[in-house]
Symmetry: C2
Subunit: 352 residues, 2 copies
DNA sequence: CTGAAAGCGCTTACAG
DNA sequence: CTGAAAGCGCTTACAG
């Protein structure tokens, strides 16, 4: 931990050139004599020089850092998004600085934005779910930020800001269609917290699809969980209390679906014979639940990748146009979920 | 996205003072007249000034950034460690820059170190598991780094580098003791990959404890998994093939334990009556497995917190002593795991 | 193809 | 208590 950091100046002296020639080599500029280029590069390797990105950032006015603000990292979704962001960022030459928010609705977020601006990040990736009105102020706030912002994750409803999200309504639709195809006549729902936009969208997709089926009474009771397995477990009890004849349950995530499976076992209900169960997320464990869980997969890694690709484009545009810089128009990318059929749900019946 | 960034100079002009007076206010120096202080601070608020950390870092020679290198973030362990690191870092005024490594044994890691040095991080938190010989070169490499390094996570064996880890041997011991107390007479093991130091330590603790029991034949067969539930499922089959009379299984993580539960159901084995199962990690879902999983909890969030606290201390020491800077002696912190008894294992028998 | 000068936005001694 | 000067390590025009 004791090595003295070597600067461009020492490299220049050792090579017998000026510092900006070294700088040219560092940045792979074409206008350097081949011999000079090689000599400098050799010295760089010899002395183990590596450029000071702080200094570079200061002169260039960009840090090559992306600020990522994410909702925890203990949940499946955020983790996937972050994985996509990190790998794509590395790919494109960005570092990321990570801030974790644990209560998406109430945590003060101005402080972290300040911090990111202070650090001169080139762009901000906002991977916080829309809960209550926690995104209402965003368009206004974003305008006063000196960098592009991209919303990423579940929300795809923000028309006024660049965003990449998942089509949550289709998630509900896929689940309901699958349940109907398996012969369900009364489908209960365990939704996520109603303040969560994603939860409401999934519910809406579920509700629309069941209504369109024309089957009488197929839309069963709805109870609100908190995404935890424990709430899914309690949820099944409530559902059965409200409507003992339900033969299928859509849980708005896999954890709650796990709770449902657990409760069903405890009650002696057979899954899927007595009760079909569908979750959302496609967590790795789902394949090994008992029985293996049918679920709806969200392409969240992709969402992370697309968000980085998109913000990079925004950053470049901003850098090109001289002041006054104009961002490109808000863009939205909505990725499609995919049904994964396993054994917790009755298989589609053959058409007669 | 268009606001012009305001600098210390403009604040100084607006306040009618010099830039270093503004700097003093920014850094809460005592030697400023109260009226001046207030006036400057008001202007700062008015114009929405926030300091450029790149410039500050350049002059101060420290970035207030911690470089975190972690093994993925799709697994439970790394996620917990990262959560601890992030919260403690925020608490202590550090930002973190995150690099993810997906293959801990083979991925080239020099590039990410270079990158961190370039970014002038104040310290490096290395949260990569010890697999094969991937840590052998570390002590040598660390010496040539200009910043402190702390190893964090499972490994606590590195005497030559500061580190905070979990006592993995005790994990194996706790599991084996619990199984013995429940009356197990033949205990199989599904271990993690043998190239993983953590897996070997857990196995050693398990083996020692069983041997010390003096019970003949209590040490059952060992099969090697890859941490996945799928490998746990296959593992139980192999274990039974090798020794049909096993009445307990220790799985080296909860995912593999889940696979064991799955396979046991499929085979019609009752858990825990026919087979006691114990895992490691205490993942959130474990409570809702069927039956709820007995496991060994690792204080990984704490490990992350302690790592940040420790490296902060190292950073401060390094900053105080003028060159030649001497790091404090390598320190090691080993945190203790904790058994969580649920229903997948037979309860301890009463002493006669 | 290469270098002398200026500057990015701060902080650190050094005067007063 | 406050300011003029220098410098952190680079890059960006500008000359030649």
């Amino acid at each position: 931990m004791t090595r003295q950091r070597v600067t461009i100046r020492e490299v220049a002296e050792a090579a017998g050139v000026s510092t900006q020639t070294v700088s040219r080599v560092l940045n792979n500029r074409p206008d350097v004599a081949p011999e000079t280029f090689d000599r400098v590069q050799q010295i760089i390797a010899e002395v183990g020089y590596s450029p000071n990105m702080l200094a570079r950032g200061l002169t260039q006015g960009r840090s090559h850092v992306l600020g990522v603000v994410a909702f925890g990292v203990e949940y499946f979704g955020p983790t996937r998004v972050l994985t996509g962001i990190e790998s794509q960022a590395a790919e494109m030459g960005y570092s990321i600085t990570l801030n974790l928010i644990h209560r998406p609705e109430t945590d003060d977020v101005n402080g972290v934005l300040e911090g990111l601006v202070s650090r001169q990040v080139d762009g901000v990736l906002w991977a916080i779910p829309q809960v209550g009105r926690n995104l209402d102020w965003w368009p206004e706030r974003a305008k006063r930020l000196p960098t592009p912002v991209v919303l990423v994750g579940g929300m795809a409803g923000q028309e006024s800001l660049p965003s990449v999200g998942i089509d949550n309504r289709t998630i509900g639709r896929l689940a309901a269609e699958h349940l109907l195809a398996g012969g369900a006549r009364r489908v209960g729902l365990i939704t996520g917290p109603s303040r969560w936009w994603e939860a409401r969208e999934r519910e809406a997709g579920w509700r629309e699809t069941l209504a369109q089926s024309g089957l009488d009474g197929v839309t069963g009771p709805v109870v609100e969980g908190d995404w935890s397995a424990t709430s899914g477990e309690a949820g099944l009890h409530q559902l059965l209390a409200a409507s003992p004849d339900i033969d299928a349950v859509f849980a708005s995530n896999d954890q709650m679906a796990l709770g449902v499976l657990h409760a069903a076992h405890a009650l002696g209900l057979r899954v899927p014979e007595d009760l079909s169960v569908v979750g959302v997320d496609d967590i790795a464990e789902g394949k090994h639940f008992w029985p293996p869980l049918t679920t709806v997969h969200q392409p969240l890694i992709d969402a992370g990748i697309q968000a980085v690709t998109g913000i990079d484009e925004d950053i470049r545009r901003l850098a090109q146009r001289r002041r006054p810089a104009e961002p490109r128009a808000p863009w939205t990318m909505r990725l499609q979920p995919r049904l994964i059929v396993r054994e917790s749900s009755r298989p589609p019946r053959q058409a007669i």
